[in-house]
């Protein structure tokens, strides 16, 4: 909390701009922004928009690392702009929209693909045993909760998609974020929908497109560890497969 957090320095931002109505392709634009040391990159962008160039477009809302809007590439790494601190960067800071997604405009990426995939993996509770409100809550021990809680922390920021090269090479890959959420429900003691979700994720476009690069987990701002979720789905699907084909008399 020392005084030098308030210190101001000129920071060079190199921002990728793309205006679909006038540009054929994106190009970098340089800005010099007076930044306080305690600022995050989002503060710098907000300053820029308010004072230097009101035409810059980007998404943000919560400024507290929870709404998932402000994902962008900062010096080539997918980051939340409200989590990346200016003081952690030296020299020119390069800001681009999330990799692997089409650019709508400036730093705004088209999220349609991710939204469609999210819906596809059925990320909602499909109850194993139906309960009415009058029956009260399902019982779930802290231990059972811990089994899936980590995967429930996903803020849908899509950073993992921007990091995963396999998604970049094969866009039909359902991808780390959505599959982790499917896994979250599969691991929930109240759920009975695993078979339905497997139809989507135990497929070639599902986990089998993942080659365990692990980049997704390295960049995830919420420590969801999608790489782990995907490998677990692979292991479980393999067990399923062998049971189904060689020991079909064993009831799952």
């Amino acid at each position: 909390m020392s005084e030098n957090r308030m210190a101001i320095r000129q920071v060079e931002l190199e921002v990728l701009r793309y205006n679909p109505e006038t540009d054929d392709e994106p190009k970098f634009q340089r800005y010099s922004v007076p930044c306080k040391n305690e600022w995050c990159i989002l503060d710098a962008l907000n300053y820029l928009k308010d004072n230097l160039d009101p035409t810059l477009s980007y998404r943000w809302s919560c400024h507290m690392q929870v709404c998932g809007s402000c994902g962008m590439m900062i010096n080539g790494e997918p980051k939340l702009a409200c989590k990346a601190m200016v003081r952690d960067y030296a020299g020119v800071i390069r800001i681009e929209p999330l990799s692997h997604f089409p650019i709508e405009r400036d730093l705004v990426a088209v999220a349609d693909d991710f939204m469609a995939k999210l819906k596809r993996v059925k990320p909602y509770l499909i109850p194993g045993e139906k309960r009415s409100l009058a029956d009260g809550e399902y019982q779930q021990t802290p231990e059972q909760l811990a089994r899936y809680r980590k995967y429930a922390m996903c803020i849908n920021c899509m950073l993992c998609y921007a990091a995963c090269p396999e998604y970049g090479l094969t866009p039909k890959f359902i991808g780390p974020g959505a599959i982790s959420l499917a896994h979250r429900y599969n691991q929930d003691s109240r759920d009975g929908g695993r078979d339905l979700r497997q139809e989507e994720i135990a497929t070639n476009e599902g986990v089998w497109e993942c080659t365990f690069v692990g980049a997704c987990s390295e960049v995830c701002p919420k420590h969801v560890d999608p790489a782990s979720a995907l490998q677990q789905v692979k292991v479980a699907s393999t067990v399923d497969w062998y049971l189904e084909h060689f020991m079909s008399w064993v009831k799952k």
Partner: protein, 113 residues
């Protein structure tokens, strides 16, 4: 969308990867010693032939070679793709055929011992 058949091979990839990680470095070390002229006792003709003659020795040799072949074949398939060779089906047929030939050859050679 149908579930994938990849688990068949992936099972051997996972098991093979685990095994290869545990034993391959030390095996390379052994043959490296042989390569620089210090043949370890066990790699001598009599010792090795004796080991491979028993059913246990045969089993060990087969498991190591089989899992190693299939896991590396699977990884090779992915590597081709990662280097930009998109003919995945062709690559898959090729690498798995190699692994299959290698596995059968192992069986044949072991049977002759």
């Amino acid at each position: 969308m149908a579930k994938s058949n990849k688990p068949i091979i992936w099972g051997t990839f996972a098991a093979g990867g685990e095994l290869v990680s545990f034993v391959t470095p030390v095996l390379i070390l052994l043959t490296l010693l042989a390569a620089v002229g210090h043949v370890p006792d066990m790699l001598g003709y009599d010792a090795l032939r004796g080991f491979a003659a028993g059913w246990f020795g045969k089993l060990v040799i087969f498991v190591v070679l089989f899992l190693s072949l299939w896991s590396q074949a699977h990884r090779l398939r992915i590597t081709f793709y990662d280097f930009g060779a998109r003919a995945d089906t062709l690559v898959a047929i090729m690498v798995y055929a190699l692994a299959a030939v290698g596995s059968i050859a192992t069986l044949v050679f072991l049977a002759r011992l």
